[in-house]
Symmetry: C2
Subunit: 337 residues, 2 copies
């Protein structure tokens, strides 16, 4: 038996369902990305499991995944034998039902495994939380290779989390572990789509940056940015602030400091609970690099329990970029097939 040809070492496909796009990769037997495919995430219809007419939104999402898988199979001449891993945002149980997904309402509550099995017959399918997939990928092939206690945080539309503890993925009783964006960090804070108030992702995600940006605009701290947005503080977006901060705008830099403070608050809370050796930050927000990481690391060092009496925790950007979830989904499919 050639181990490189055994099921646990062969090619595998991975698909990551994001808030805006469905991204897929084909991994070859050496863990190299052999092909990539993408589609737009469909948002037609909100899935309500109690509504007899429901399911259109979730079915459309499943259709987009099937389309991406078909494209990957064509690109790699795969006959359908490579296992397929699918990363989904939210609370996905061990049967592949997406029990609750505040940031993908179109598919919240849907039996993703069943919808995909219809569209991808005779396929080995593994469904897992998207950030858990990204943690597996960064731990195996990316910014946390060699570390056995790792926290992966994705700062995007919301906040996702994946935890590696002594080299193993932390899944929890139902597979719901790592829903770190929904730690409440201020009970009097703004409402969250999850139904609570003051969740961490209301402060430290892309949506959180947008809110901090609008608050700074109304407070007169972003005059140049507001002017560029046509004079309307309400029209200021997160991207406007990151762009202005990159250009050295002092008000915009101040907003990035605030954002880093909130990111650090959640990271120090999670450090108290999990004690990671390394924290990997992924997701769209980290694409601004040190503009976010420098204030985050500064606030983290000031806030972390035990301070200098504990070993330094490395806070590093993800290495696999937007592909981390898809790569990790492929690795997970190969591991668990």
């Amino acid at each position: 038996v050639n181990p490189e040809r055994s099921p646990r070492h062969g090619p595998a496909l991975g698909v990551d369902i994001g808030g805006t796009k469905v991204l897929g990769v084909a991994l070859d037997a050496d863990d190299e990305v052999a092909a990539e495919a993408r589609a737009t995430t469909p948002h037609s219809g909100i899935f309500d499991p109690n509504d007899p007419a429901a399911g259109d939104g979730a079915a459309a999402v499943a259709g987009a995944v099937a389309e991406v898988v078909a494209a990957l199979r064509r690109a790699t001449d795969d006959d359908g034998r490579a296992p397929v891993g699918v990363g989904v945002p939210g609370m996905c149980d061990r049967q592949g039902v997406l029990r609750f997904a505040p940031n993908l309402a179109a598919a919240s509550g849907a039996d993703i495994a069943a919808l995909l099995a219809e569209r991808l017959p005779d396929t080995i399918l593994v469904i897992e939380n998207d950030a858990t997939c990204a943690a597996v990928a960064e731990h195996r092939l990316g910014a946390a290779a060699g570390d056995e206690n790792v926290l992966l945080v994705t700062l995007g539309t919301g906040i996702g989390g994946g935890v590696i503890s002594e080299g193993r993925v932390l899944l929890g009783a139902s597979g719901f572990a790592g829903e770190i964006g929904h730690m409440v960090v201020d009970p009097a804070g703004p409402p969250c789509p999850c139904g609570r108030r003051g969740c961490w992702e209301r402060y430290a995600s892309g949506g959180g940056l947008a809110r901090l940006a609008r608050e700074a605009a109304y407070a007169g701290r972003l005059p140049a940015v507001v002017e560029a947005a046509g004079g309307d503080a309400e029209a200021v977006r997160g991207e406007d602030v990151t762009k202005a901060a990159l250009a050295g705008d002092p008000g915009a830099l101040g907003v990035m400091e605030d954002l880093g403070w909130w990111v650090a608050l959640g990271l120090t809370n999670l450090t108290a609970v999990l004690d990671p050796a390394r924290i990997v930050i992924g997701g769209g927000l980290v694409e601004v690099g040190e503009l976010l990481l420098t204030p985050t690391k500064k606030a983290y060092a000031e806030q972390v329990e035990g301070g200098r009496r504990r070993p330094d925790v490395a806070i590093v950007p993800a290495a696999l970029g937007e592909r981390a979830g898809a790569v990790g989904a492929a690795l997970t499919a190969r591991d668990r097939r």
Copy 2:
């Protein structure tokens, strides 16, 4: 070889260093408590590792542990061969150094392993966080026997935590995991001995109850309790409120509802991160039973992410009472000797 006589099955001693008392137990080969001993926790002198004259506080604590171990050895005719486990409050590293202990300032920073080795020569010693010990005990012999994903929370002077994930203790990179009392749940909240603001243990511990009680007293919600305390709102203690609540005082019952709400806030945060199947609540505060558990469970059900879309999480009182930490320390010593 008789397995009952092999090292992993023989007698073991466990000692739990609490804020007020040092409690020890001798476990026999069948995990029964064969003897118990206790001493008062000495508080003479704050240990400051940077002070050349320091160490008296930590040495006194180590002396009390040695005294309890000697009493257990006498009571069980042990010749010093039984391994000794010691549970300590705070961030204890894998070498047995108590790096940071906000609730045991007398020994914070001390090399507990070295201090004990001097006083207990030729003894197999294992040092571990106290709440982690309690989690091991409740998982093996108590309220979480049979569950593989367990969160143990001790509500006492502060809040301690121990996590069992897929049947294994979650230790983290340095052994500091489970410092759950120092999650910040309100960045504008009251200062904490750990140096942060608004830590969960400022709201949901014995100290938190005292604060909620004083606030209610000043707000005029506890007229009978204030009268019983000599008319001074500042003199109202947590015990006064629990006693009045047990007697049906409506204002005191309201304070217990507030306390339960804060307990639930932290439990739902931890559920989002860890996804336990069962939460075991120990520590002095839970001795009031349903008076705290009922409002906690109600608020938990209202707040937990995913609500009814996730399986119910059992929230139960600890079964081993004040002995949980010592029993778990003995089990840990036997496992790791």
